[in-house]
Amino acid sequence: MAAVETTYRDAIRQALHDAMRDDENVILIGEEVGLYGGAYGVTKGLIDIYGENRVIDAPISEPAIVGAAIGAAMTGLKPVAELMYVDFIGMVMDQLANQAAKSRYMFGGQIGVPLVLRTQGGTGRSAAAQHSQSLEAWVHHVPGLRLVMPATVNDAYHLLRGALADPDPVVVIEHKGLYTMKGPLNVDVADGAWGEPVIRRQGHDLTLITYSRMLHESLIAAEALASRGVSVEVIDLRCLNPMNEAPLVESIKRNRRALIVTEAGVTGSVASDVSARLSELCFDWLEEPILRLGGEDIPIPVSPQLEKSSIPSATLIADTALWLVTREAPSWAA
């Protein structure tokens, strides 16, 4: 089937729709997923097609939503639980990290939890400190949890389908700033295999590794840098667990410089972990330390100006990349 132009939001809905059509065990459970159609409109209309038994509007009881989804997964259903904001993950962390993630292991491989937890994070809407965070590191730290973060329309579809095909708990973190983004969707052809990073732009001066919304800021930056004679390879991680590091290592060995861009605060971030892993693997090929560019280590402020300045922009990414490659210091250099 040929690619069609659609939105990130509709691609996710398409993935849910196709999965529910193909397998009657797939259910949706979460706050406002039914009648309201999802806080961001992702599940709009699905209750009309699949009914209230498969599209379940839950009370505002996040721990029990995830806990119930775990039980359903243990006993044969294929639940897609929705956490309206990733910020609420603190409330469900016990169910996620102590129950879902560890069940297969603690019980000697008997009881797997094929659960998908959909949620969304990120800044850009002045939703303030409790509705704007990038908390993928909390999930990333837990053995037993898979974690994917789609940046493109096609990945929004295929990574969710991949999550549904995975026998273990998978957390899918969408970005609230991408739902209306348009792009091609080809339901037959994924951008890359499950766990594989995808090179979104080729370049030979710098390897820029990123994921989620920062992919788009990074691509804008790479385009701007091309006119300055700096060639940036932009790699989209897509899957944070599982993650095949080989293409990253191969790229860094060629380019000898790497920049990891994330929206999350840098301290304790996934970017920090990826940086450490790649430093270990690419040590003998590096001309510069693998650099991390991320959000400031602060809660997200509500003021639009403060919020915007607290996370990387295309300008900041381009400035930093240029500084790293050509040693041309930006105006904000201290």
Binding site: Y40, L286, E287, T315, W332
Partner: protein, 407 residues
């Protein structure tokens, strides 16, 4: 009163456009602040657009069913502007997607990445490359950030090796005969130095140690960032070993090897007749007899006379150095312990017919120093077998230093 165009406001977090589902206020109808003007359907839900002031609807600019972009004009109204709001003007533009980053970081001392006093700033890639190519890092000048050595620097910076020639006591740079020419033909740069007090640029030395410092500083100033091979003869060999140790500390020059020809500083004795003769001889004949002890090819009388004249002039400047090196037939310098500390390849060459210094002094060499013995050579092995000496010098270029030793 004022005529205003109403644009479609942002009505939801992810809204980029909306479809007009119903106009509530018809053209020419009056409305109050807060009245619903129209309903639109966004990507999420149906939304009401209320009036922000009292007024009269003049015209609908979009029809029911139209899909309207964010901030696009939707209606013309005649507005009754409220005093407190009137001064405020219209809504701001949509936030720029590329924000200016111009904040000034708060005043906190920023940790500076410290370069350790002894460390060489080189990227991991440069270190790996240097290891692979057998290039000592401190011989490479860095062009990277803060002078850091890059892999590229290592690749390009396979710098030429300079052979530093240190002649023996009483001799000068001409004493090497045709060795410099042979070395240049082999592709080496040459620094053929006159020892302190022996003419040339270097100041007079107070003693042996002083001469070591003078030579080391001279080399540091003239050859920083290069590789050198030190070739020393007799006292020049003892000086060369000491200079190599000094350069090893300074880390400005990479010493790739030390070749000692009939080296002084290993044993107890030295030929007192030679020493005394060289310090005292005034006639060409006496000078010739003295030089005969060297077991070298004979010189013409004209050259002998010129050398004697030079020596007579230089004796006062040489005497301090000579006195600190040997006295009454006994050597005053012992380089044995120092050779132990050298981390570079060292080769020693002895002539078995040496009448100035006993070839048996080789017994004082550390075990890891290679020695060659030339059966028919005297105190000047390089004049006896120059081809062989060039081969020994070339061999340093292929052994080189391991970076671990360098760093």
């Amino acid at each position: 009163m004022g005529r205003l165009t109403i644009n479609l406001p942002r009505l939801g977090e992810t809204m980029e456009e909306a479809r007009v589902t119903a106009w509530i206020v018809a053209p020419n109808a009056a409305f109050k602040r807060g009245d619903i003007l129209l309903e639109v359907e966004t990507d999420k839900t149906v939304v009401e657009v209320p009036a922000l002031q009292d007024g009269i609807m003049l015209a609908h600019l979009v029809a029911e069913g139209d899909v309207v972009a964010l901030e696009a004009p939707i209606a013309e109204i005649e507005a009754h502007i409220i005093a407190a709001i009137a001064v405020l003007g219209t809504a701001k533009t949509v936030p720029n997607i590329l924000p200016e980053i111009n904040y000034i970081p708060q005043g906190q001392p920023e940790p500076v990445v410290a370069a350790s006093a002894n460390g060489i700033a080189a990227s991991p890639a440069a270190r790996a490359m240097a290891r692979q190519m057998n290039v000592p890092l401190f011989a490479v000048s860095g062009t990277g950030r803060n002078g850091r050595i890059t892999a590229n620097d290592v690749e390009k910076g396979q710098c030429k090796t300079t052979v530093v020639l240190l002649h023996g006591l009483f001799d000068n740079h001409r004493g090497w005969r045709d060795l410099p020419q042979r070395l240049m033909q082999a592709g080496h740069e040459i620094a053929n130095i006159d020892l302190p007090g022996h003419g040339g640029l270097l100041p007079q030395a107070q003693d042996f140690e002083d001469a070591v410092q003078i030579i080391s500083q001279h080399l540091s100033q003239t050859l920083t960032g290069t590789n050198v091979i030190i070739v020393g003869h007799s006292l020049g060999a003892a000086l060369g070993a000491s200079v190599a140790a000094e350069l090893q500390k300074l880390r400005l020059i990479s010493v790739k090897g030390l070749l000692m020809l009939a080296p002084a500083g290993l044993g107890a004795r030295i030929n007192a007749n030679f020493m005394d003769g060289m310090m005292a001889a005034s006639s060409v004949t006496a000078f010739k007899n003295c030089l005969a002890l060297l077991e070298a090819a004979p010189l013409s009388d004209a050259v002998l006379a010129a050398e004697r004249d030079r020596l007579i002039v230089q004796r006062p400047a040489i005497s301090a150095l000579a006195g600190s090196a040997a006295k009454d037939g006994f050597q005053q310098v012992n380089i044995g312990p120092l050779l132990d500390t050298l981390k570079i390849p060292v080769i020693a060459v002895f002539g078995l017919k040496d009448q100035i210094i006993n070839w048996q002094d080789c017994a004082a060499l550390p075990q890891n120093i290679a020695s060659h013995f030339l059966r028919d050579a005297g105190h000047l092995p390089h004049t006896h077998a120059p081809e062989f000496i060039v081969r020994l010098i070339n061999s340093f270029n292929t052994t080189g230093l391991r970076p671990e030793q360098a760093g």
